[in-house]
Symmetry: C2
Subunit: 217 residues, 2 copies
Amino acid sequence: MTHSQQRFFYEEEQQLLEEVLLHRRDVRGNHFKKEAIPKGVINKIIQAGLTAPSVGFSQPWEFVLIKDEVTKQAIKETFAEETEKAVKQFSNEKQKEYIKLKLEGITESPLNMAVFYKPKNTPVLGQTSMPNMGKYSVVCAIQNMWLMARSLNVGMGWVSILDPNKVKSILNAPKENELIGYLCFGYTDMFYNKPELEIKKWDYKKLQEDVVIQEKY
Amino acid sequence: MTHSQQRFFYEEEQQLLEEVLLHRRDVRGNHFKKEAIPKGVINKIIQAGLTAPSVGFSQPWEFVLIKDEVTKQAIKETFAEETEKAVKQFSNEKQKEYIKLKLEGITESPLNMAVFYKPKNTPVLGQTSMPNMGKYSVVCAIQNMWLMARSLNVGMGWVSILDPNKVKSILNAPKENELIGYLCFGYTDMFYNKPELEIKKWDYKKLQEDVVIQEKY
């Protein structure tokens, strides 16, 4: 294969990608099935993460695969603590909605994954002026895995109501690592056809005219 | 369409996604063509961004579309200044390689896009314990656009050797906005079949065994 070999994508192929993007959902514990995910499927998901773009080709990611129930329970405790603190920050009306939402699937999903940013101790090409770029590369890997999971009919949920330092300590993670995402994977009984928070009118869906600016503000 | 309507993806569809992920490249100025991107194609790319996941359905993104040559030149100046500072941070051997690399396509690409994080002034569901979550949502939108662009045979490059405050000032961006990515879009004369920095041996490609941890560190 030469370096200039091309892959041209056709309209049906572009439309298929569009469908995967549109059908990707944040899946929570009320829709995960216990059924284990085969190793080959997990590998394909991780492989998708490894093809993500990364600043200066630094690939600054580490993936911890968690099936152990004791670990999951410990993670769920930090979720409960952080939820208690979080709810108080919302207005009365939103508080009532908040407590009705199921926001994680830590114990219901067969596979959890903690995704870390692992900083380098030498300068990284492209990260010298924007120090967050390494963390953003890790997010690109998460999004790749999310899409690949969906195309394999596997649901994923991203849990962020956690104390990242407690998660690090539960997993014995090295001091320099930073938690970027805590993910839950599993087969599902259904996927919503729209984001759950849109269906439940937590917020409205933004359109291009709300967020696109021509040339300058 | 009911909320429980399902979309099952078949193996050929999963493989097509895999191909898009594998053929996505960071494109720089030596491979962009001047040819304008049709409005319908730009819309499809932005639409892909708008289907990205976002913490608490906050959709905290703003997209500035830039075609103006004067703006591009001003952005290119901050790139040149930051490059001068950056090169000095690398070891002698890496410096020689660094200066040979073409790292942006600001003026060669027909369309630039500055992507901002726009914070809310009320609490965001899911962002109370991990304040970076909103920025990470914007990165998910960028990765969706990158993949959609590739499936439309449009190249994209992410330029991060910029002073984000200078970019904000050039674009008159509101004080609270934070620059997440500065992107260049255009048709290309070719796509490399591997990341350019892998081909040029700037760094080696990591494998699953390098970055996957079972259960705990």
